[in-house]
Amino acid sequence: MPYGPHTAGDREQMLAALGIASVDELFADIPPALRASGLDLPEPEPELELSARLLRMAARNRTDLASFLGAGVYRHWTPAAVDQILLRGEWYTAYTPYQPEISQGTLQSIYEYESLIAELVDLDVVSASHYDGAAATAEAGLMTCRATRRERVLVSKAVHPHYRATLAAYFGGGLQLDDIPLVADGPDAGTTDLAALERLLAETDRPVAGVIAGQPNFLGLLEPMAEIGRLAHAAGALFVSVVEPVSLAVLAPPGAYGADIAAGEGQPLGIAPQYGGPYLGLLASTDALVRQIPGRLVGMTTDVDGKRAYVMTLRAREQDIRRDKAASNICTNQALLALAASIYLATIGPHGLRDVAAQGAARAARLETALAAAGAPRIHPGPYLNEFAVRVPDARSVHRRLIDRSVLAGLALADILPDEPSLADGLLVCATEITTDDEIALFASALSEELAGAGARAGVAEAVR
């Protein structure tokens, strides 16, 4: 078979067989307004000029900043072995093969990924992975609806706003999604409001399929997960925990506090922060929900000669088999990134992961002290791991000006949670094991000068008035 596009003759032959005059007729069902009418692309350029232009564009990226940005994506040190092993050509596909058992290496890598994540989350079953944490969380929400035959899910407002937006998109087709508000003040400020959760669960005419909360939550705070799970279960709902995987080296895993499903973003496990991904969706559940988990599960067995072998154990609910009744219409996994996470975990080991988490927490504590001294105290009093919100007058413009001082001061919360007035002056900042004391000192002194300058400017304004 020739490797090339169809010739004009090929096309005419096919059109004649179909009894149509042009290819356009094949798209007659799509309203004209929705059809692409040419792409607005610049003229082609020679490769040399194009790469020079792209290099100039890339040079505009600021890679020199001391970064305190987390908010769902975290910078960690990745052992060189991870990227080196990923470079092997054998791994270069996002897909598990459709004749899987012939690719024992691919299946083994997925099996090991599933085993490692199962150990981290302390649940029975782990899928072969999903696009990202948001997609995995949305799938978890749908799982609860299928398993309980109920149509309403409650999600804490302290779950990542992007995940909540993805949930809302998935639930647009008739399922109901209600927010659980946050505690406004007091010692539990910034965490999921348990009294509000109880009230939402008590609406017996609208039974709840699942309750979704994050640990740590989007604001970095630790949630009363066992209590949230207990309330969910008492109402006959399932409990979904949205986790950050590195934290599981030091925090209780979802299985230990009664979560039925764990979802999360696997990026912190050896995957560099990248604008828009690709990332790694973690999804795990109890054995009772094994037939609700979308995607595929790989298992280990023995072949006819008694030798170890890996098999596609369960993928019966995928779309090529179940069509419109499939558990999900997105069963593509992220095999290469799941492999990166596996190599990362296997390379640093359980003690290494504990060190990563503990070092991040220790450096975050130093960051808290330094920022408080600079005039930016924490907003919430509750415990956190390595990320927290601080109050800074006029946070958005301070954030912008600090970039000129080579500091990326986390995330201005007003940009991502505009409907939470209590966070309008908030910066969400994080530290990990690679945050240095010098960076913390730079942040604190730059912030201190900015705040003093702002005070001076206010004084001038006062004087002028």
Binding site: R291, A316, R317, I321, R322, K325
Partner: protein, 126 residues
């Protein structure tokens, strides 16, 4: 020859009427076509089913298929033994492999179903 005391659907379910109740399963032919059955998902007791509505799922090593209610009714029992021993559907499809028991709400629907001769003819035609 399939059992003559049962009625059948074109989707290969059987129904055994016993007064106001009926027992439902899938035929030996269907079980044979599906291969080794590894999982059966059945509705909870109390659920109301319309005739020909999907009531569950049967999963074999090579396929997953919906189960359809031959007649309308309320589920009064499901065969919990199939959770641990789905192989009963292959080994004893008309006995231990039964799936649900319904309280009939439209008993007249039974007469619309295939009798043993008609079902035999259906599977003979492939």
């Amino acid at each position: 020859m399939v059992p003559t005391d049962l009625r059948y659907t074109k989707d290969h379910e059987w129904v055994r009427v016993d007064g106001e109740e009926a027992t439902v399963g899938i035929t030996e032919y269907a079980a044979g076509q599906l291969g080794d059955i590894v999982f059966v998902e059945l509705p909870d007791v109390g659920r109301t089913l319309a005739q020909f509505a999907a009531f569950g799922v049967v999963e074999s090593v090579k396929a997953v298929s919906d189960l359809f209610a031959p007649v309308s009714g309320e589920v009064v029992a499901n065969n919990e033994a199939l959770a641990g021993s789905p192989e009963h559907v292959n080994g004893d499809p008309y006995g231990e492999g039964w799936m649900i028991r319904l309280r009939l709400t439209e008993p007249g629907e039974v007469d619309e179903l295939l009798d043993a001769d008609a079902y035999d003819a259906l599977i003979a035609a492939g």
